[in-house]
C-alpha cells in the first residue's frame, strides 16, 4: 500500500490525465471541491471519499492504494479523439470502461485464471508493409492459426479474443462517431471495446469492431508501455486503420472459406456474384453486408463498382458477441453495460465458489445495498 503522502499527487495526476477540472471531478465523485483540494494537497480524506474519487477516475480504492497508474491507457485513448462529439459523455463512459477493466483484471488474478496474453503478445507488434491488404490477410491467418481456429466461421469474436488474452467489453458512448476503442496498460494484457451506439448497434458491426480492435491490440501496440486508440469513424481509412479493417474482414471470413462457401452456393469463378450470394455469405460468417461487399473486392471476386451497388441490404445475425446489450435479463439491466459481461461473470463465479462475500460481489458489479441484487443472484442460481 502506498504511503498517505503519495495519495494526493496520484489523484492529481489522474485528474489531469482525464482533463477534468477540480469542480468536474468533485461533482462526478459526489464530494465537495474543498474535500478534493485537501485530498490532492495532503492525501487527507476518508476511505469512502478516496473510494469515490478513485471510482470517478476509472479505478478502485484498491488501485489507488496500490499506487497503480490505472488511468493511463484509457486516458491516452481518449486523447486520440478530435473531440468532434460530446466529450463529457464519451469521457464518462471511457472512465466506466477503465473501471470495469481494472475490476476484471483484479478478479482474473484473484481467481488465478490462466494468463492467455502470452499467446497474443507473441504475435506482435508488426510494422506496416506497403501492401496492407495482403499483409492483413497474412496476419489474420497467423492469428487464426495461433488459436487453432482453422477457417471455420467464428461464432464468438469475444471468445476468440479471450483465447489470445484480449478482453472485450461493450459500452454505449452516446455517439455514432466512435466505433470502439483499444487500450493497454503498461505490461498488461490489452482490452478492447465496441460502442453499441454506433452503426445501429448491429451485432455484425460489433463483431467487426472487435476484430478491428484486436488487430490494433496485437499488432499496433508498443512492446511494453501504456497505449490506447479511440476509433472515430472515417470513410477513407489509411495505414494502420486500413490494415485493421481488412484484417477484421479476413479474420471473420478467410478468403479460402469465402470461396468454398460461394462454390457451395453454386457460384463459379466465371460468374459475377449476386446479391443473394452476398447476403448468404454475410449471414454465414456473421459480417455486415456492406463489409462483406468490400471484402469480396479485397478477395478479388468483385469489382468495387459492383460492390457499391449492393450496399443497402442488412442481414441480422444472432451472436453471443452482443448478448448483454441485445438481450439482457431484467436483473442484468441493473448492472452497467461495461460490467454486465465478463466482470459480472467472474464476480458471480467467485461468489458461487464462496470465495467472496455478497457485499464484495455487489461492490464488484456496482450494485448498492438498496438494489434488487438478490434477483440477479437467484437468476444465476447462486446460493449465498
Amino acid at each position: 500500500m502506498i504511503e498517505p503522502q503519495q495519495i494526493g499527487p496520484l489523484l492529481r495526476r489522474a485528474r489531469l490525465a482525464w482533463g477534468l477540472s477540480p469542480a468536474d471531478l468533485a461533482q462526478r465523485a459526489s464530494v465537495s471541491e474543498m474535500t478534493l483540494r485537501v485530498a490532492e494537497r495532503s492525501g487527507r480524506a476518508t476511505l469512502i471519499e478516496l473510494a469515490s474519487l478513485a471510482g470517478a477516475l476509472g479505478g478502485s480504492l484498491d488501485d489507488l492504494l496500490a499506487g497503480r497508474e490505472f488511468w493511463n491507457a484509457t486516458s491516452i485513448a481518449l486523447k486520440t479523439s478530435d473531440a468532434s462529439f460530446e466529450l463529457s459523455v464519451v469521457r464518462a463512459r471511457v472512465i466506466a470502461l477503465a473501471n470495469a477493466a481494472n475490476c476484471e483484471r483484479a478478479l482474473a488474478k484473484f481467481l488465478a485464471l490462466p494468463p492467455q496474453w502470452p499467446k497474443g503478445a507473441a504475435l506482435g507488434p508488426v510494422g506496416l508493409q506497403s501492401n496492407v491488404i495482403k499483409q492483413s490477410e497474412a496476419l489474420a491467418k497467423v492469428v487464426r492459426d495461433q488459436v487453432g481456429a482453422g477457417s471455420e466461421p467464428l461464432g464468438s469474436l469475444r471468445a476468440f479474443c479471450a483465447r489470445l488474452g484480449v478482453v472485450a467489453f461493450l459500452t454505449d458512448l452516446g455517439t455514432e462517431l466512435v466505433d470502439g476503442l483499444m487500450w493497454r496498460e503498461r505490461n498488461a494484457a490489452p482490452c478492447i471495446a465496441a460502442n453499441v451506439a454506433a452503426r445501429g448497434g448491429a451485432s455484425t458491426a460489433i463483431r467487426m469492431t472487435f476484430a478491428h480492435e484486436l488487430c490494433h491490440a496485437l499488432f499496433d501496440r508498443p512492446k511494453t508501455h501504456a497505449f490506447g486508440i479511440l476509433e472515430q469513424r472515417t470513410d477513407d481509412a489509411v495505414g494502420r486503420e486500413q490494415r485493421a479493417n481488412a484484417f477484421a474482414a479476413y479474420l471473420i471470413a478467410p478468403r479460402g472459406a469465402v470461396l468454398d462457401a460461394m462454390t457451395r452456393l453454386g457460384w463459379s469463378s466465371a460468374d459475377v456474384p449476386t446479391s443473394q450470394h452476398l447476403r448468404a455469405l454475410a449471414q454465414f460468417f456473421g459480417m455486415g453486408v456492406e463489409a462483406m461487399a468490400y471484402h469480396l473486392v479485397n478477395c478479388g471476386v468483385w469489382s468495387k463498382a459492383e460492390a457499391l451497388k449492393h450496399r443497402t441490404f442488412s442481414v441480422p445475425y444472432p451472436s453471443d458477441d452482443d448478448r448483454e446489450h441485445a438481450a439482457p435479463t431484467p436483473a442484468e439491466q441493473m448492472v452497467s453495460l461495461e460490467r454486465r459481461g465478463r466482470v459480472l461473470d467472474l464476480a458471480t463465479q467467485a461468489l458461487a465458489q464462496g470465495r467472496i462475500s455478497v457485499g464484495r460481489w455487489r461492490e464488484l458489479v456496482g450494485l448498492g445495498l438498496n438494489t434488487d441484487w438478490q434477483l440477479l443472484v437467484a437468476e444465476r442460481h447462486v446460493e449465498t
Binding site: 495519495i7 476518508t46 480504492l61 462475500s357
Partner: protein, 187 residues
C-alpha cells in the same frame, strides 16, 4: 455493526429494539450504504445514536485497514473497515465484536481474531437482555426469512430457546451485567 445487519433488522422493523441498549459504531462506508435507503433509514440511524467511524490515511485504523484489505479483498469495503476499527479498538484495550450477518465477513473477521455476532446470536442476546420474549424472537426470525431471504445454515439447527441458554451459559455474569446496563439506559 455491518450494513447487512442494519438492513436486516431494519427490514424486520427490529432496529428500534436496540435503541438505548449499548453503544453502536458503524463504519462510514456501511453507514453511507444503509443511509442511502432513504430518510426513514437515516432516521433509524439517528434514533440508534450510532457513531459513524471514518478511517483516514495515517490513523491507527488505517494501518490495520491496509493489512486487512490486502491486494484483493474477499469482503466489501464496509466489512474491511469494520474489522480495521475493531482491531484498532482492541489496541486501545476496548475490544469490540462486529455484528455481521455475512458468512464471508464473519470468516474473515475470525481470521483476524475479531469476534462476531451472528443473526441468531443477536436474537438470543435480545432475549437474554429481556428485550424480546422467545416467541417474539421466533416471529422476528420468520420475518427475516420472508423479508431478507434469511436461511439457517446446516450448523445452526435447534430452537431459539436453546440458543439463548447456550449464550447464557457462555456469557454468564457478563450477560447479567449487560442486562442491568440495558435496564438502566432504558429507564
Amino acid at each position: 455493526m455491518d450494513a447487512c445487519a442494519l438492513i436486516r433488522l431494519y427490514k424486520c422493523e427490529a432496529l428500534g429494539l436496540l435503541v438505548n441498549t449499548i453503544d453502536f459504531a458503524v463504519a462510514e462506508y456501511a453507514y453511507g450504504e444503509f443511509a442511502a435507503g432513504g430518510p426513514s433509514a437515516k432516521a433509524a440511524l439517528v434514533d440508534l445514536a450510532v457513531k459513524k467511524r471514518p478511517i483516514v490515511p495515517g490513523s491507527p485504523e488505517w494501518k490495520h485497514f491496509a493489512l486487512v484489505r490486502g491486494e484483493f479483498s474477499t469482503v466489501d469495503l464496509g466489512e474491511d473497515q469494520s474489522i480495521a476499527i475493531a482491531l484498532a479498538e482492541a489496541d486501545r484495550d476496548n475490544p469490540m465484536p462486529i455484528v455481521t450477518y455475512d458468512n464471508g465477513a464473519e470468516k474473515k473477521a475470525h481470521g483476524f481474531g475479531v469476534a462476531t455476532v451472528s443473526f441468531l446470536e443477536t436474537l438470543a442476546w435480545l432475549v437474554s437482555c429481556g428485550l424480546l420474549a422467545v416467541e417474539e424472537a421466533e416471529d422476528l426470525e420468520q420475518r427475516a426469512v420472508a423479508r431478507d431471504g434469511w436461511r439457517r445454515s446446516a450448523g445452526q439447527a435447534g430452537s431459539l430457546a436453546a440458543q439463548v441458554s447456550s449464550l447464557c451459559e457462555v456469557l454468564g455474569s457478563a450477560l447479567a451485567a449487560a442486562k442491568q446496563q440495558t435496564r438502566t439506559r432504558r429507564r
